[in-house]
Symmetry: C2
Subunit: 153 residues, 2 copies
DNA sequence: TCTAAATGTAACGGCATCAGTTGCGAACGT
DNA sequence: ACGTTCGCAACTGATGCCGTTACATTTAGA
């Protein structure tokens, strides 16, 4: 299983943090150290996020990545769609069912509907959370304010 | 991506059909021909379904597989859980976040909640459909009754 | 009792995907 | 000009899944 969504959330949290602190772009090297991976892995991830319009990168000295728009306007669904192309919960026959079998194509058609509804439910639950909400929750967790109600997630 | 759920649905539909027709056990070879795969693949699948208590198999001459209980009492969630162990919609850092990074563990904790809710939504949508409902829908599709309302799925 | 029909299971290869790594060219600030 | 940083291509190792072969085991039926 694929860990790009988790890494993307981590990266975007760092970018939201930098933005709030008024710091400049964040380098892939710094983020890679935080995630414990290689800078190139982070850059590949950033390339996908940039293609989706979520981040912008600057090259050269004092370059790095930053959020392309407000953290309030980025939902986890945006992130998921950007880095996880296959959102279907299950796959299909690689070679298709036997066309001489009368039920094969109908099973596939039925499952298309099931898959579509499951996918819609997943997307709805991801659309409800913005990057800003996630970041605020992280701040609360880090600051250890146990008194406030724990944010969902 | 994994096609076991689709194959399992196909297999179980055939078993439901055989049961309704009063036929005996269905061989893996017959089912494999319908799915266009190898009998061993079907048997591996049946082994998982049997471990989950959904089917029973008989060895030897005139052996094969049959439903272990009524198709009305098997939901697609049962099937999904039986063959798709990883139901989480996204994975985690392989090596975990950097412990010296203050937000890493919190990102993971936050995403645990997100994943749990997404997973719950998926499971709810799968629990709503029984094998019997799916099979009835397939029958309608095969018989080509366009007048009746199309079943969800 | 013998035979044919089936399952159960192990082993192996091919293929795809992913993470990690290296190397280098291009862009950019100082 | 120089060092910094991204972008990108290429390669490796690990993993997971499907397909296939092979073989032992079980069972019904002649």
């Amino acid at each position: 299983m694929n860990s790009r969504f988790t890494m993307a959330a981590h990266v975007l949290a760092m970018l939201a943090h930098a933005e709030r602190e008024g710091r400049g772009p964040v380098t892939s090297e710094l983020m890679a150290a935080s995630i414990r991976t290689n800078p190139v892995v982070v850059r590949r991830l950033l390339a996908e996020l940039a293609r989706a319009g979520l981040v912008v990168s600057k090259r050269g000295a004092s370059g790095g990545a930053a959020l392309a728009r407000s953290a309030k306007k980025i939902t986890l669904l945006d992130v998921y769609a950007a880095v996880e192309e296959r959102s279907a919960p299950f796959g299909r026959h690689p070679s298709g069912p036997n066309p001489r079998c009368p039920i094969g194509p109908h099973v596939a058609a039925f499952l298309d509907g099931v898959s579509g509804r499951a996918q819609a439910a997943l997307e709805t639950s991801l659309r409800e959370v913005t990057l800003a909400q996630m970041f605020e929750d992280l701040l609360r967790r880090v600051e250890g304010r146990r008194s406030g109600k724990a944010a969902r997630g």
